[in-house]
């Protein structure tokens, strides 16, 4: 396999790290050992906070659960640390599962507060539980041995820590570059999109949370056996805060940021400890306040942390498609003319507002149906009801004979429906390719474990291939461009490509032509007809009448939440009520 320049840099970095014990004074190994342990926790926060958008002050507490589990089992039953590692991970996982299941449904800012609460609770639990040695702590925790060699000198322990960190950084990076990783990124502000393409975001959120807790447990395990002593203070709230600092200062969006942040904060504190007494005298201890001031200043200068600044000078990540011959399976499409979608008296009310009221129509396979109406007529609401984003207040929707009225959007997605959004919902920091691959989520199957170990590469290659194919098909050439750099019209096209990667039976397009230039609109019309020729059924909401009248077979007109008219484009254009609705009758 050919390695990208980023990968070479990472390998070089870890090679230097491996050689440092021969170059650095011992104390720096101690310090870097701490950095490694902290970076593990920060790595978990990268997944949780930077990628998935949930914040936790409780990582130190999870670290404590891991540390205590391992230490107590070692001391009580004389087990080997390698055995208790397993127990530490399991116990922490169970605790995290319980806490996560309770809190992860909450809105963004509740989670950090809840984590403060359990961070404090677990601290006092460590101090008061009967088997933890109380606040005074447990001494004599055995060191970790490898092939009979105790890893308790600074340099050996340093190697152990960084080996574990390198491994975890590698698997985390793998995960981020996988199908699951893309879905995780969508948890941050893109839940609707993720659900629309078949992701169970709640389960994924819990999984992410679990993973971050396990990384913390691993750090706790290293900590306990490295120090040989544990008591509650290192697992208290202030350490939990410190970990979040590391992730945020380093740049919580990337693996590099976790290591950078952990290193920076640890070294900064150490250097402040040396420097401040010289500048301000011994009379007071100003390390913490000065540290706080520096963090605030940094946030005001670089909100995203320091890694993005560093990233600008790094070579760009590799921009080649993965080789691979495997192709994704293709859904069987229903025969042309068969009834695909049917709405019966569908209503959606918001309080007193009847956004959609008793709308019925049906859509046959191979057809393009246009849904038009003035602004505020309820078209987008109806779209959201059909795709399962909103549950209908009344009525029935059937897809290929199956009642989907009560289905969540991810379930509907799995039945072969894909959509675009009126307000473009892309991931601007992801490449076109990454965005498009999001569409193929339900066509691939690799879960967290396979992703972590990069055992899903052939499937990933097939996904890439499918995405690249659809991007070419809609005329988006530079697949490694960031989606945020595209003009609005092209972003809409990208959304269509993303929906096509899902290999949909039914494609829902919400105002695909808005913001497109004339030439682009013509291409769009051509594309839609081509798709129709290939057996894709399309439901389209559009304001651009030129486009609509040109491509659709039939039109449904809505006004004030109700169906106003239905018919061919020509019939609709002559329909007096439609003209009235569009041009207004106030005069």
């Amino acid at each position: 396999m050919k390695l990208g320049s980023r990968t070479w840099l990472a390998l070089a970095f870890f090679a230097v790290i491996a050689l440092l014990p021969f170059l650095l004074p011992t104390f720096y190994l101690t310090l870097l050992g701490n950095v490694g342990i902290y970076a593990l926790v920060a790595l978990g926060l990268v997944l949780l906070t930077g990628v998935a958008g949930s914040t936790s002050f409780g990582q130190a507490a999870f670290m404590g659960v891991g540390a205590y589990t391992s230490a107590v089992l070692c001391l009580r039953f004389g087990l080997s640390p390698w055995l208790t590692l397993f127990a530490a991970v399991v116990v922490t996982g169970v605790v995290a599962l319980i806490l996560g299941a309770i809190t992860l449904r909450m809105q963004g800012h509740f989670l950090p507060l809840a984590t403060i609460a359990w961070g404090l609770s677990l601290y006092y639990t460590f101090g008061n539980a009967p088997f933890t040695g109380g606040f005074t702590g447990l001494t004599g925790v055995p060191p970790i041995s490898l092939f009979g060699m105790a890893l308790n000198t600074p340099s050996r322990f340093y190697w152990l820590v960084w080996a574990v960190l390198a491994l975890c950084a590698w698997v985390t990076q793998n995960l981020l570059q996988s199908r699951t990783g893309r879905a995780m990124r969508a948890l941050r502000g893109g839940v609707t999109v993720a659900e629309s393409f078949g992701v169970n975001t709640y389960v994924l959120r819990v999984q992410t949370f679990l993973l971050s807790a396990v990384l913390a447990a691993l750090a706790g395990w290293l900590y306990a056996h490295g120090q040989g002593f544990i008591n509650p203070t290192p697992f208290g709230l202030s350490q939990g805060i410190e970990f979040l600092f590391m992730a945020v200062v380093g740049g919580s969006g990337s693996v590099g940021g976790a290591i950078l942040g952990a290193g920076l904060i640890t070294l900064l504190r150490d250097q402040l400890q040396n420097l401040l007494p010289k500048l301000l005298g011994q009379s007071g201890d100003f390390v913490t306040p000065v540290f706080g001031i520096l963090v605030i200043l940094m946030l005001q200068v670089a909100r995203e942390g320091l890694w993005p600044l560093l990233e600008r000078i790094l070579p760009r990540p590799s921009q080649t498609l993965m080789p691979g011959t495997e192709r994704l399976p293709i859904h069987t499409k229903p025969a042309s003319g068969e009834e695909l979608l049917r709405l019966e008296g569908v209503s959606k009310h918001f309080g007193g507002l009847k956004a959609v009221n008793g709308v019925s129509f049906s859509l046959n396979s191979g057809e393009i149906l246009g849904l038009i109406g003035p602004n505020g007529a309820g078209k987008s609401t109806l779209f959201n009801v059909i795709s399962g984003v909103l549950p209908p207040t009344a009525g029935h929707i059937t897809l290929r004979g199956q009642d989907i009225s009560r289905f969540a959007s991810r379930q509907i997605a799995r039945l072969g429906m894909a959509r675009t959004f009126q307000h473009v919902k892309l991931f601007p920091e992801m490449t076109l390719l990454g965005n498009a691959m999001m569409g193929g989520y339900t066509r691939a199957h690799a879960g967290v474990t396979r992703s972590l170990l990069h055992l899903e590469r052939s499937e990933e290659a097939a996904l890439q291939h499918a995405a690249a194919e659809q991007l070419t098909r809609v005329g988006l050439g530079d697949v490694f461009e960031l989606a945020g750099n595209l003009p609005l019209g092209q972003q809409r096209i990208l959304e269509i490509a993303r929906a096509l990667v899902a290999d949909p039976t039914l494609l829902l397009l919400d105002e695909p032509a808005a913001g497109l230039r004339l030439g682009e609109k013509r291409e769009l019309a051509a594309l839609l007809r081509k798709l129709q020729g290939e057996g894709v059924t399309i439901l389209i909401v559009e304001h651009d009448m030129d486009l609509v009248m040109n491509v659709v077979d039939r039109l449904v007109v809505m006004n004030y939440g109700e169906k106003l008219a239905e018919g061919t484009p020509r019939e609709i254009q002559q329909h007096p009520a439609v003209r009235e609705a569009y041009l207004g009758g106030a005069a």
Binding site: M106, H109, L113, W118, S121, R188, T288
Partner: protein, 351 residues
């Protein structure tokens, strides 16, 4: 065993009174937290520091010392003036920049003169309380100007990290100013009052009454005055407020001023019954938070009730399982969150 003893007529009312006294202070703090969050999206964990600063500044004045708070105020004033001056200059407002610097200089000199003159005189308690408020309350708007105003478009997480940093700064400075040991401030009322079964210290009664009055005052402010309504409006709909001519920056200033004032007053209320030290405020503030969370960080009355509940729960837990008290009090959040997660539909968080 213990639980039955809890309802002993000699014990229950005492615990309830104790819980209400603390709960009243938590309630005040929770109101400030809800206010600051609703208006500025800042989860203001440094709120508790104002509590410590309030009590300890008064304690310094009691000893006839110039409180360290003065130096902090002067430093923040200087930095704020420079920052503000620069931003005025950038907008081409040279004269205004000069005015800002000059007035800051004037205020600083005045404050310094006032404090160095009055502090050693050991004035009467009400005057010292006024001096304390004069020193602590400005910390609110100034920390807003320097910390949060430049970040006002940032995500909640960034604001939260900034608030935590501020907590570190203020508690570190608190240690330098006031020392590690706590201080007690004089009571506003001496003696014990007997209400039926319960013996209540007069100070507890003052705490409860003052909290109640403050809450009523806040209610009046939010419900009856244009400025208070403008704050609420900013919290309800930021864009709508701007389009009505309400400046969110000004709303930020007002809410942080109120937060500092409420914090300092809370410190003065608890100060007499318990020694407060530089790091006491944080946990007191966090308990206010639990209340605020019960109120979903939006509802003032529910937050206040939640905070009262925290006070009561803390008192009863202290009696029955004192070692596990914090676990119980902070664990309270989890069922509340669970209940919320089951009753509210998950809303998409658009960044």
């Amino acid at each position: 065993m213990d639980l039955a003893q809890l309802f002993d007529p000699a014990i229950f009312p005492v615990l309830a009174a104790d819980g209400l006294t603390n709960g009243a202070v938590y309630a005040l703090l929770s109101l400030a937290l809800v206010l600051v969050f609703a208006v500025t999206r800042v989860i203001f964990v440094a709120q508790g520091e104002f509590v410590s600063f309030g009590a300890l500044t008064l304690a310094s004045l009691q000893l006839g010392k110039v409180p360290g708070t003065l130096w902090l105020v002067l430093a923040l004033l200087a930095i704020s003036a420079v920052v503000e001056g620069i931003s005025q200059l950038r907008q081409g407002q040279g004269r205004r920049a000069g005015m800002v610097l000059l007035s800051a200089l004037g205020i600083s000199a005045g404050l310094w003169a006032l404090l160095t003159w009055l502090a050693p005189l050991k004035l009467a308690l009400p005057l010292q309380v006024l001096l304390t408020l004069l020193l602590v309350v400005p910390l609110g708007p100034m920390t807003y100007r320097l910390t949060f105003m430049p970040l006002r478009e940032a995500s909640t997480l960034v604001l939260l990290i900034a608030a935590v940093s501020l907590h570190l700064i203020l508690s570190g400075l608190g240690l330098a100013f006031f020392g590690a040991e706590g201080s007690r401030t004089p009571a506003f009322a001496e003696g014990q009052i007997t209400l039926g079964q319960v013996q209540l210290s007069a100070q507890s009664l003052v705490t409860i009454l003052v909290s109640a009055v403050l809450m009523l005052a806040l209610y009046f402010f939010f419900d009856r005055t244009l400025a208070g309504k403008a704050l609420r409006a900013t919290a309800v709909n930021r864009l709508g407020a701007r389009l009505s001519g309400i400046s969110p920056v000004r709303a930020g200033y007002v809410s942080f001023t109120l937060a500092a004032a409420i914090g300092a007053l809370s410190g003065l209320l608890i100060g007499p019954s318990t020694p407060l030290s530089y790091d006491s405020g944080f946990l007191i503030g966090l308990k206010g938070f639990v209340g605020a969370i019960v109120g979903g960080l939006v509802s003032y009355p529910v937050a206040a009730l939640g905070a009262l509940l925290v006070g009561l729960l803390e008192s009863f837990a202290s009696f029955s399982f004192s070692a596990w008290k914090e676990v119980i009090v902070f664990g309270l959040i989890l069922p509340v969150l669970l209940w919320r997660s089951l009753t509210t539909r998950h809303a998409e968080e658009e960044e």
